[in-house]
């Protein structure tokens, strides 16, 4: 069963008097073992499609099936529950809560699931160790480097054991070397935990590492290439 399936997903925005196309008639199927990327130039609709697939936004038309269930008609609370329990998010900027420590930032994803404190702490520590930040649990974001912050964000995304992690331009604010290590981390988590990843990126290294490249232009899917992992674009 595919983890995600869309049919004719369309989203437009109103910008003043004008209607701006976000995504038009997007149909795709994402397998449970996907390590895919939405690629394309700025304004091509990558982030819009990622937001629709991440249930952060609602489509004007089309259907969205997540793990076999039509979620396009879910109400606000239902979408929030699904995001909380089955999805993980990594954003371009780390988007960590500055007043929480690294461990607390990761545990936050479990706090909102109302899990016991001890469980939250144990799993947060394990997730931080998994991204190579063991020993830095007590540090607040302002005491971490950019790469470390993004790793904390990755730990937060995976601590709830999601089926799919959606990452929007995760390397955009990192230097080349740090970005490379982060991509390696994504690939390792994907391999070790079997978590599906869907990136929105125009970083050629992510596009290169992805085993599936969905290309967008002006809101339309123009190409959908399945490639062997690590193959050149």
């Amino acid at each position: 069963m595919p983890i995600l399936e869309t049919r004719g997903l369309t989203k437009t925005y109103r910008l003043g008097e004008e209607r701006v196309v976000g995504v038009v008639d997007a149909s795709l199927t994402l397998a449970q073992e996907a390590f895919a990327v939405l690629a394309g130039p700025s304004g091509s609709g990558k982030t819009t499609l990622l937001n629709l697939l991440g249930l952060l936004d609602t489509p004007d038309s089309g259907s969205l099936i997540f793990e076999g269930t039509d979620v396009s008609t879910l109400d606000e609370r239902g979408r929030a529950r699904l995001r909380r329990e089955r999805l993980g998010f990594v954003f371009q900027a780390h988007q960590l809560v500055p007043v929480l420590s690294a461990e607390e930032n990761v545990a936050l994803a479990l706090w909102i699931r109302k899990l016991p404190e001890e469980t939250c702490r144990t799993r947060a520590r394990a997730a931080l160790a998994a991204v190579g930040l063991g020993g830095l649990e007590a540090r607040r974001p302002d005491a971490l480097s950019g790469g470390q912050r993004q790793r904390v964000a990755v730990a937060r995304a995976i601590v709830g054991e999601p089926a799919l992690v959606l990452a929007d331009e995760p390397t955009a604010s990192l230097d080349s070397e740090t970005a490379g290590r982060l991509i390696d981390l994504f690939a390792r988590i994907h391999a070790e935990r079997g978590v599906a990843f869907l990136f929105s990126s125009h970083d050629p290294r992510i596009v290169q590492r992805a085993d599936r490249r969905i290309r967008l232009l002006d809101g339309r899917i123009t190409a959908d290439e399945h490639v062997a992992a690590g193959a050149c674009a």
């Binding site: 937001n51 929030a80 995001r83 998010f89 809560v97 007043v99 929480l100 936050l108 909102i112 937060r156």
Partner: protein, 409 residues
Amino acid sequence: MSRWVVLAARNLLRHGRRTFLTGSIVVVGFIAVTMTAGFVSQTFSALKDATIRSVGGHIRILDPRAAGKTDDEAATILLEDWPGLAGLLSRDPRVVQAMPKLSFFGLVVKGDRSAAYLGTGTIPALEKQASLAADTVVSGAFLSRNDSDEIMLGTGLARAIGAKAGDLVTVMTTTPDGGINAVDATVAAVLGYPVKELDDRILFMPYGAAARLLKVEGKANSVVVLLKDDRDTDLEARELPKALALEGRPVAVKTWLDTATFYKQVKLLYASIFFFMGLVLAVVVILATANTMTMSVFERTREIGTLLAIGMERSSIRTLFLLEGILLGLIGSGIGAVLSLLLRAVLNASGIMLPPPPGATRGNVLHVDFIPLSYGIGFAAMSLTLLVAAWWPARRASRLNPVEALGHV
């Protein structure tokens, strides 16, 4: 819940200076509420004392026929054998003293000048102990003997007839049976009464002389009972008629509060001022805090977007901001309570003299009462005010669109 309280507390510390300024408003508000309550309480207490002293006691014992009548209507209804009644009352361990009061009116004349007066016949020694009059002597000496032909006049009345202490005047009145009687009396003292209307008319005469003048020996309009403790007033007002009825002396009673119109009006006025001040204070706190909270929501828009994106319920976002408001209210109130107690201690030790309260003759040393209820109300009011102030910013935060919030710059 504790983890969200911790998060709310840390969020408050995120902008320490801003939180300090907003919290200061809460602290000042709390101090204002508790100090005003303490000061007003002390003023009420002084006013109550003055009112009781103006009557000469806590409870007035009247003839049963005077029940339900105004003082004017009951003026001609006299109690028989007041000494017997006073004897029964003196057996009550809560009673300090019981003194008769005779009310009469007429003209006081000196030479070719005369003026209308409102007279009170009383036992000088008891009156001196219980009443306001003793504090108001401006010249001469308080009445000394119960059967002497002496009087005391209010300053306004003395001025009206050109009398001063030591002068001889004629006191004329109508007796209850309709006859006219008069007595020559010496002005023993002139009183500076705090209420001008009374000062222009008031006249005191020893009970013995007044009773002879009115030809009502052994009778009195009322017997005024002074209690050891104010708090026993209502109890005694209930119990005394029953106890006296068992002794074959049915009576009617009125407490000092029953006829204390001025006291009630002043209390109502103070309560209105206090309420209005509290309302203004609440509005100031709400506006200042709402502004802070709104800024906080604006600055944390992307963070709120992230929390929504990872699946936090909108209601939880709202709760988080409301918690920040309540927490600020509680912490501010806590600091306010400590500072309020300190300030109270300093003021109470300062010995500052205050002018007399309305209707009183003596000023008091400033004393701010400790009113635990006002501290409780302060905590509740400040927390509620902060909750109200945080409501709209919290609602705004919880209704943000996660996509737009994440893209907020």
